[in-house]
């Protein structure tokens, strides 16, 4: 049974626009997202899909209802603690202008890890380089955003979103401003990351092309989730080196295991958290195993 990563319970969001005018952006929304899922939220503009994404991402608070992320009820957390939740648990990718213009691709990916401050500089740089390799930008480490195409920038944003091993990656129209080739690459990347890294994605889009990579689609209209259905998974042609990605993932997991073991030995990490982290790594390994046996 997969773990529940996001749980939205009876969420309402009302914006007060004028003195007597309320806009009901979300009405009694209930939603659960499991670990390893790709969930697509579709709907026309103004339907409330971005509001929902913002609430899941702790950027906005619901008027009523509860939001639980990776077991933590974030509904009433103060802004200070929300920064930490976003830093550790959530990766964000927006439609455009995702990157810090003064930083190189590598530095952009390093940034969340630097903010977290748990790894030393060499480790951070190594991991950032590997993540950029994974998204196929190993040759663009020192490029500034302005020197990259829209699609490349989006891939840097994806690498950055993964930097702190978040529980979930939220995407708002990730292919909305890129050309069709880049779109295919990005979609393939999302699918591959999900397949081999076990990354959970929630993607907001009104582009049906994007929805083909989803495990599940949720429609939203007038602030209401009115239909959900499971869809069969369609694979996109191989555009990325899967072997490289598996190698990176196994390398990440190996290093993470060593780090956790060290922390545990030093007594910094509590026993239950250690056990939880170990089981998360185990689940990821099993995922790789099952994918590999499928391919064989």
């Amino acid at each position: 049974m997969s773990k529940s990563i996001i749980k939205i319970e009876n969420v309402n969001k009302i914006y007060r626009v004028g003195k007597d005018l309320d806009v009901h952006a979300l009405r009694n929304v209930n939603l659960e997202v499991k670990e390893g899922e790709i969930l697509i939220i579709m709907g026309p503009s103004g339907s409330g899909k971005s509001t929902l994404l913002n609430i899941i991402g702790t950027l906005d608070k619901p008027t009523s209802g509860r939001v639980i992320i990776d077991g933590i009820d974030v509904t009433h957390l103060p802004e200070k603690e929300l920064y930490d939740i976003r830093l550790r648990k959530i990766g964000f990718v927006f439609q455009f202008f995702n990157l810090i213009s003064t930083l190189t691709a590598l530095e952009n990916v390093m940034l969340p890890m630097i903010l977290l401050g748990e790894l030393d500089k060499e480790e951070i740089e190594k991991k950032a380089k590997e993540l950029l390799e994974v998204v196929g930008l190993g040759d663009k480490l020192y490029a500034r955003p302005i020197q990259m195409s829209g699609g490349q920038q989006q891939r840097v944003a994806i690498a950055r979103a993964l930097a702190n091993d978040p529980a979930i990656v939220l995407m708002d129209e990730p292919t909305g401003s890129v050309d069709i080739v880049s779109e295919a690459v990005i979609l393939k990347l999302i699918q591959t990351l999900n397949k081999f890294f076990g990354v959970t994605f929630i993607i907001v889009t009104h582009n049906p092309e994007v929805s083909i990579i989803g495990h599940r689609i949720v429609y939203i209209r007038g602030g209401k989730l009115f239909e959900t259905r499971e869809i069969p998974r369609i694979s996109i042609d191989n555009a990325l080196d899967e072997k490289q990605i598996i190698r990176s993932q196994i390398e990440f997991l190996k290093r993470e295991l060593i780090r956790l073991k060290n922390l545990r030995e030093k007594g910094v990490l509590e026993a239950d958290k250690y056990a939880e982290s170990l089981s998360s790594i185990k689940r990821k390994l099993e995922k790789i195993k099952s994918v590999l046996s499928e391919d064989l």
Binding site: L87, R88, T102, L103
Partner: protein
């Protein structure tokens, strides 16, 4: 807050500033200019004050002065004062305006020959009188020039026309001394020194003087000594060297204050420049602030990102301002000199002025940036992301 992030932040600031080179340069220039003005005024001010005390010392050659309008102080008083504790030396003199040659106005100082050393005269040519009876005179180089005298030995006519007294007599120039003291330069008055006795005789006031110059062994005790003199000679008009210096310094402080007010206007302009630059920078990067906050940067992180730019501008403006101000103080000195002050203002390295310039630069920059940065820190990520 980890060190790696702080390093990162300064790297970001430097890059952002290099993207907006002109804007950054102009802002730093504004800070530099105001700090330079501040430092230059301070440096020259300190130089002038130091020079003023030196000059007053040199002019008076005494710590305390007793003055009377008329020649009414018995000469013995000066010997008596010499016996008051902490008085190192005391000279009774006649200090009187006179004309020398045909029209040259001078201050004539009649001094007992044994006490001529008291005044530290810098003799250029010749030697001072050795006899108390001799009608000999030491003139300063300005007077010598005005009279066309190049070497001792010439006879000059001295005219004293003071109140009801009128006298003229021939004196022999025995020495030429250095003209000095900025006050003499300022008032266009020169000094000549002669033995006391012939002058007393000329004026018909043997045994009397009108000025007593007093040196004490410890300047800290100047008030105590002045009080002791007052006790012994209740009617004496006592002027302390410190009083004169204080009056001059007070006047200079007023001028200083006015100049500083002008500097403050410059600082305000610089502050507005910093504020504007930071506001522009924040406005341009509002979306980046949104992204930073979305990926987990807190208010402190955002604060540091923009504060680092301000710190870099403040520090570089401060340092450049100190360098420019110190170099500028030489120009300012030449300018003041060109206004007709015939004395060389010394330029010292004044660490206090440098510290002040640096602190003011940094403080003003940070204060000016606080409001725009505060707004950037407070903005919610969702609002920042909405602004295109």
């Amino acid at each position: 807050m980890n060190r790696l992030f702080i390093k990162f932040v300064f790297k970001m600031a430097l890059r952002s500033m290099s993207i907006h080179k002109l804007r950054t340069a102009l802002t730093i220039l504004a800070i530099t200019w105001s700090v330079a003005t501040l430092v230059a005024l301070r440096t020259v001010g300190v130089g002038i004050k130091a020079r003023v005390s030196d000059e007053v010392n040199e002019l008076l050659q005494a710590d305390i002065l007793i003055m009377e309008r008329s020649l009414s102080i018995p000469e013995q008083v000066s010997y008596y004062i010499a016996s008051i504790p902490h008085v190192k030396d005391s000279v009774g003199t006649i200090f009187i305006p006179a004309k020398i040659g045909k029209f040259k106005g001078v201050n004539l100082v009649g001094v007992p020959v044994s006490k001529i050393d008291f005044f530290n005269l810098e003799i250029i040519n010749g030697s001072p009188p050795i006899s108390d009876e001799a009608k000999e005179i030491i003139i300063d180089s300005d007077t010598a020039k005005a009279l066309g005298i190049t070497a001792p030995g010439t006879m000059v006519k001295v005219v004293i026309n003071y109140g009801t007294v009128y006298f003229e007599g021939e004196f022999k120039v025995v020495a030429i001394m250095e003209s000095r003291s900025f006050l003499s330069g300022l008032f266009g008055a020169s000094f000549v020194v002669a033995p006391l006795k012939p002058i007393q005789e000329m004026l018909g006031r043997e045994g009397f003087v009108n000025y007593i110059f007093i040196k004490i062994d410890d300047r800290k005790l100047i008030n105590d000594v002045a009080r002791a003199i007052k006790r012994n000679y209740p009617g004496a008009d006592i002027v302390k060297q410190t009083d004169i210096v204080n009056v001059i310094i007070k006047v200079m402080d007023i001028i200083d204050g006015m100049l500083m007010a002008v500097t403050v206007i410059g600082l305000l302009v610089a502050a507005l420049g910093v504020m504007n630059t930071v506001m522009m920078s924040i406005r341009e990067r509002i979306r980046e602030i949104g992204i930073l906050k979305t990926i987990g940067a807190g208010g402190t992180h955002v604060l540091l990102i923009f504060l680092s730019e301000v710190i870099i501008m403040g520090v570089s403006g401060g340092v450049l301002g100190i360098v420019a101000g110190y170099s500028g103080s030489f120009i300012l000195r030449d300018f003041v000199n060109s206004l007709g002050l015939a004395f060389e203002i010394p330029i010292f390295l004044v660490p206090e002025a440098f510290m002040l310039g640096f602190c003011v630069s940094l403080t003003v920059s940070i204060l000016a940036a606080l409001y725009p940065i505060y707004k950037a820190v407070k903005i919610r990520p969702i609002e920042a992301l909405k602004i295109e």
